[in-house]
Structures are given as structure tokens and as C-alpha cells.
Subunit: 285 residues, 2 copies
């Protein structure tokens, strides 16, 4: 049997699908997955290896570790979806990947709070504002913040070692659109390599590293929410980020400061690092 008949038959099976969007998606998936098979001509053993790999990716995934997201991220798929979904107007803050370590329902903190909860590192003051495209401040915008520590680990990766919810928190902008929090400077880290995606990276001769960054999700009533990072200028791996997430506009300076008055106000040692950034949201059209 001509093997294209098998593909035609698989597509015909969608003829009773009432959901036109789902039919569109499944048509594309079937056509391209069949095309991969025709190009690659897998042996049955290779097919079975693919089945086992995907199964393993599923087994490594739970609420705190999402290996399929890591797979999507490391194959450039997530950034492609991001590029297609988030065609932002000029001047708006650019988006990037969510990553696998976001935890919904993190603790809320007030202006200026320290989220390090005892994680050591180089003290850092993060300040900034959230505005609209017109520059007007947005009050009561919500910032979900999370990051790895100077050792490259997120709280959820070492629950026995670190205080719960450290380097993670929810902030709200003031009426003038400002926010501030204290933390420690993040460091580059590898995506988790102890699972199947790590094996894939190793087998394909790739490194697993990401440049140092802070994660943000910023939401405000009437505005498009933004999932993004701020990358530390000068960090290793800004070139070659394993998940291709770096955008020029998201690279920011962490400046060393010795303003003892400001340090005292935020209960920080001197010197400390400071990063100031303006996030710009687009209105919901």
C-alpha cells in the first residue's frame, strides 16, 4: 500500500469532527508527524524509543516539574509560540518563556519586602514601575516574581534545604505605578538535566545553561498580561541560552550601589546591587 494512503485515511477519520479549530490542529499534527516518519524512516526499535522517551517525559512531569515544558523550551517551540502569540506594539515590554518553575499562588508581599527568606547571595534591590504605552502609571498592577538563587536552584528543586517559597512572591504597584523588592542576585543555571530532556541535550552535544535572570508575570486590569524575564547584563550564556529566550530589550544592568540611606530604608547591607526597570503594558484591544 502506498504509504500516503495511510495518511489520507488518518485525515479522513477527522471528517465527523464538529470542532473546526480542533480539526485544523489535528490535521496539521497528523500531516507533519506522518511527514517526520516518511523523512526519518524509523525502525520499529526507533519508534519504540520515541514512545519510551515521550512516556518518560510524562513520568518526570508533575505540579512542580514540567518536563514537557522543558522539552518544548529546549527545542525552541515555546519561543516560537511566544513570537506568534505576542506581537507587541512598539514600546511594550517584550515577552519570553514561562519556564517550568512557576508556582501559582505564591505569597503576597508589601512594597520593598525581602523575598530571599535566608537564601544567601549578593543583596539586590529591584525597583521599577508599570505603565501603559502612553507612559501613564498603572496602580494595583500585580507582579508575580520568581527566580533561582546564586546556586542556580529554585525553591521547589530543593524543598528540604530551602525555606518554602523563598525567592518567590507577589507584589502590587503603588498608586504611582511603582514596585520594589529585595532579593539576591540570580546566577546562570542549567535546566534540570537529571531527566529525559537532559539525556536529549547530552546526546545532541548541547549545553543545558541559561543566563542569569528574574522571572515576572505582570497583570493589570484592562491590559494584556506579560510573562517575561529580566536578564543580568554581562551574564554568561546570554549568547546560546538553551531555551532561546533572550531578547535584547530584556537585558538590564545590575549596578553596584553604596547609598547607605537607601540601604537602610530597605534593610540591605552596603554595597548592594540595584536594578531599575520600567515595564510597559499594552491595553487589551
Amino acid at each position: 500500500m502506498d504509504n500516503r494512503r495511510i495518511t489520507a485515511e488518518a485525515l479522513e477519520r477527522l471528517s465527523e469532527c464538529d470542532d473546526s479549530r480542533l480539526r485544523e490542529v489535528m490535521t496539521s499534527v497528523i500531516e507533519h508527524v506522518h511527514e517526520i516518519v516518511r523523512e526519518v524512516k524509523p525502525s520499529m526499535e526507533e519508534w519504540r524509543k520515541a514512545i519510551d522517551f515521550l512516556t518518560d517525559v510524562g513520568h518526570w512531569s508533575d505540579e512542580k516539574r514540567q518536563e514537557f515544558i522543558i522539552l518544548s523550551d529546549t527545542l525552541g517551540v515555546t519561543m516560537l509560540v511566544d513570537a506568534i502569540c505576542h506581537q507587541m506594539p512598539e514600546g511594550a515590554t517584550e515577552t519570553t518563556v514561562l519556564g517550568p518553575f512557576f508556582v501559582d499562588g505564591a505569597e503576597s508581599f508589601s512594597y520593598g519586602a525581602n523575598i530571599s527568606k535566608g537564601r544567601g547571595g549578593e543583596s539586590t534591590l529591584v525597583t521599577g514601575s508599570v505603565t501603559g504605552l502612553d507612559g501613564k502609571p498603572i496602580g494595583k498592577a500585580r507582579l508575580d516574581v520568581w527566580q533561582a538563587g546564586p546556586d542556580g536552584f529554585y525553591d521547589v528543586q530543593k524543598p528540604d534545604e530551602f525555606a518554602e517559597g523563598n525567592l518567590r512572591g507577589v507584589f502590587e504597584t503603588t498608586e504611582t505605578g511603582h514596585f520594589a523588592f529585595c532579593t539576591v542576585k540570580p546566577a546562570p543555571y542549567p535546566v534540570p538535566t537529571d531527566g529525559p530532556v537532559g539525556r536529549m541535550l547530552l546526546a545532541t552535544g548541547r549545553h543545558a545553561w541559561r543566563p542569569a535572570h528574574l522571572h515576572f508575570i505582570i497583570t493589570a486590569a484592562g491590559f494584556q498580561s506579560v510573562t517575561t524575564h529580566l536578564f543580568v547584563a554581562g551574564s554568561e550564556y546570554l549568547e546560546g541560552d538553551v531555551v532561546q529566550a533572550v531578547k535584547e530589550s530584556l537585558i538590564v544592568d545590575f549596578t553596584e550601589c553604596d547609598d547607605s540611606e537607601e540601604a537602610a530604608r530597605f534593610n540591605l547591607p552596603v554595597p548592594y546591587f540595584k536594578l531599575d526597570h520600567q515595564f510597559v503594558l499594552s491595553p487589551i484591544s
Copy 2:
């Protein structure tokens, strides 16, 4: 950024991959998965739904239930791999899907044994031979046999209800290349619909049914092993098998017999069904 640059960058990351076959496979996978994204233009929510679907397929998979195989089967992927891998010479037994219910290490039985282990149903005698392309009998060929009962379930789907390993067994051909075993006539059944693939079938307006069949894996020293089915002629769903596995040459008659001498020899009631089939193996080239 032009989104094709993201794809080009993802492919560049394979430049240090020493395993040329793996590079070939990953290149095809990245190109086509990115093409799906460009065609479908998923929202972030749809992307997340895809991640969750694949994760769920992984979570439903274990040693006894392989949901990724069911997914591959129901999208026609497995039969396409089969068509590409098994281009058999004229006259050789055709192959078809393994299915998700094969269990390695089933019990060995002697010629003529009954594998029903108390599962009720229409008694059936399966006889036949295994030969080479030249018609010469192959002795000591191994037949791994498994099937669903008349209720459409495999042993592993209802471990609390059925005796362990029923309707499953390993046989060896005699010196004259013959085999025989007693069982019950299989019935059509749906692939398992309680998991994510079942949800996919329902959402796309598809039925989940397979025509009645017996599974075989036949192996013999010096010959290519064959994974196949024998389908019951006249069974419902020979047209429209949910996994597209039916091939004309694999449809066989289950004839009603009243040969009381034969029945006595195999300890079967009269009347019984009988199926006789010659499997033809290709030499390893």
C-alpha cells in the same frame, strides 16, 4: 524577530551533535513541530493544553497500559511506521500493529493447549503452520499469542476479574512447522477510552472500535520476525478500524465445525470454531 530565525537557531544548536542519525531525526522533528506551530498559531492556552495532553498521556502509561502507543496507533502513525519498516516480499505474511497490550514473558504451552483459563466464549481451535517463502516448514518457530475475550477485554485490563495470563501464551511449532491451540473467539472492542486518547477520539467525533482479531508475534532463527493480527472475517469494524490496522491478507475465516473426533482430541465441545492459517516468514537478508 522573524519567527523562522527561531527555527534556524534551534537547528543550529544541533551542530555539535556527533550522532548523525540522531541529528537527522531531531532536525526533522524540530522542522515539522515548528511548522505545526506556524500553521496552527496556537494561543498560549492552546500550547498549554497540548503540554497537559501529552503529560496526561505519559501519566496514563505504565508497563500494562501504553497510552502513547494508543495515541500513535489512533493517529495512523504506527501503521505508517509499519508500512515503511516492513516491505515484505510477495507471499510473506504481512505485519500490523503491536497494540498496547502485549506482555513480554507470557507462559509457554505445549501443542494444542487451551489458553482460555476459564474465560467463557465460543470455543475455537486455531491451527496452522509456519513456513519460509519456499514453503518449507520451520520447526521450533516461536508464536507469542494474545487476544481479548468475547467481552472485548484483555487479561491485564481486568486483573481482579480474570485468571492471570488468560488468553495469552507462547507456542512452538513442531518439527513439521505446525502449531495448534484452543481459545475462545475474540470480539470487536474499543481501544481504552477512559484516558486522554479516549477524550481525543470523542472530541474529534471518532469511534474507538477495532474489529475482532488475534495477535501474533512469530519469530524463528534465520527469519525476520513478524508482528501481526488475524482478523475474524465478517467482524464489525473491518472497515474503519480505529487504528487502521486491517490488511486484506490478514482476514481469515472462523469456520463452525462439528468434527467430534477432533473436538475430543483437543477437549473441545461440539460445535466449535476453527481457523487454520499458514504464516510465511522471510529469511533475514
